[in-house]
């Protein structure tokens, strides 16, 4: 088998060799060698075909297929959870809960939206729960206060020892990050979520609407409110 065609079946999976599979969707890509890529570099078209087959397999109870599916999304999911919760520990919990929930419910996935939207919906709901719980517990959280009464993160005091780091610029960036984080805390969970998805993860507001199961118009209004609040909270910044 020539290397290119072989690479195609690698990207799609071992489906050609198994006697038990009845899906033949992969034949489309099989015939076009230019679509072939080494695993991990699948094109958009292949990715969609790939996902559909993996989902169907996972729905039949194939845990390996589900795990492969997870690998297509888990970096983005972890990044979202990490930035939103601000803690590696909480991010891992959200990650675990999200994918376990996906595993348990994949039988209910009916392809009426993309898997991308579906998984983001699960993660977002978990993040919203986290934000709501955090709001309730805010008074109890131990926080360091500096002499002017403003809060500061103890980790900001750790110097950056990486070679070539610009200490002044890094310090300014961390201070900026801390100020923004403080301002973000003032948003409602939904406003925070919309802003997070749009600003930090570049999703289109139409997608954000689908994820939050609301309209694009509502998402737009929410983004507007969120940015107005942030501008107010950070008005002294230059």
């Amino acid at each position: 088998m020539p290397a290119d065609a072989w690479a195609v079946s690698l990207a799609i999976g071992e489906r050609a060799h198994s006697k038990h599979k009845s899906e033949r969707v992969d034949r489309v890509s099989d015939q076009d060698p230019q679509q072939g890529r080494m695993a991990g570099l699948v094109s958009q078209q292949d990715r969609r075909i790939d996902d559909t087959m993996l989902i169907r397999e996972a729905q039949r109870g194939n845990r390996g297929a589900f795990e492969e599916l997870v690998r297509h999304y888990d970096h983005a999911v972890l990044r979202l959870a990490l930035h939103l919760t601000g803690s590696e520990h909480d991010a891992q919990d959200v990650y675990q809960d999200a994918f376990l929930k996906a595993y348990k419910n994949i039988g209910n996935f009916r392809f009426e939206c993309s898997f991308y939207t579906w998984i983001y919906r699960i993660v977002t709901n978990l993040c919203l729960d986290h934000l709501r719980k955090k709001n309730v517990r805010k008074e109890d959280a131990p926080v360091a206060k500096d002499s002017s009464g403003g809060e500061y993160d103890l980790l900001d005091q750790v110097p950056d020892v990486r070679a070539g780091a610009n200490p002044e610029r890094d310090l300014m960036r961390r201070q900026l990050g801390a100020k923004i984080a403080g301002a973000l805390d003032k948003l409602t969970p939904r406003e925070r979520m919309v802003f997070e998805l749009k600003h930090y993860h570049g999703l289109k507001l139409r997608t954000v609407g689908e994820i939050l199961q609301t309209t694009e118009e509502t998402a737009k209004n929410t983004l507007f409110r969120a940015t107005q609040k942030l501008r107010g909270a950070l008005a002294d910044m230059r």
Binding site: A3, D74, L82, H83, Q92, Y103, R173, I180, F224, L230
Partner: protein, 313 residues
Amino acid sequence: MKCEWIRESIVLHVYGELADDARHELEQHVSRCADCAAELKAEQDFHAVLMQDRAADPTPNLLASSRMRLQEALETAQQGAWWHRLAFEPANWLRQVRFSPALASAILILGFAGGIGTSYKFLGPRTTSTTVTDQHPAQALNDASITGIESVTQQPGTNQISIKYNTVSTEEAQGPLNDQRIQQLLLYAARNNYNSGVRMDSVGLMTQNPSDTHFRDALMYALQYDSNPGVRFKALDALGPYVKADTRVRDSLLQALVNDSNPGVRTEALRMLEPVKADGSVRGVLMTLSAKDSSQYIRSQARTLLAQLPEID
């Protein structure tokens, strides 16, 4: 008032979310209205400040440990079976009923179905296990009647294999490896058992006879899809000797080499491919690995193997 609409649109504009006709209108208005022009500039400046704050990428360690934790949890997690879909979650349904009263009657029906559905759960494989020696040796087992495999053991010093499996009660089959029922059960156990120990036991027994085509298929399946690296490793070792004779084995080893998440499995796959390193597709993979693989060991091993090959013109 127009300016109010413009103010709202400015934020969308800055995030690239404005439709083309709205964007045109905004640009027209801003060129005539000083207030709105100032607002646009202020919003753009603010946006520029915010853009300096980026979401950090998770460290490779965090991602890897998250994946491992998930894998372990998946081993014991049960996928919702058909009867779970009939049982309903009250909170979700209540939320929906609030907005669509038509669902109220549907809930009543589903409530009954859910009630009936959940009762099936109790008839699962957790009945008291009775060991019954199989009384119909000539009869092949119906896959659908098996609900789970409890254990797979080989009597030491003999060629007798003993498998405890559940249908509605627990039964046990005994026989040598070439017994059809034993083979059927081993194949089932390798794919369907949630306990990685049982899967490993059945894969281990299959390695005694990897020339059997069903076993070889099952071994290749285990190599690609089993969540436990120990099981994958065992399957890999069994398949290794057949890499020259069977191109499917060669391809499945290549697949493991490129895709497996466990470095031990990948390294072993590379070792097992040595007899066929001259093959076109193997050579292609080796070249890519020697240049791009993230593991230094794999890169250097691939290079070593390539160096042993004669140059092709």
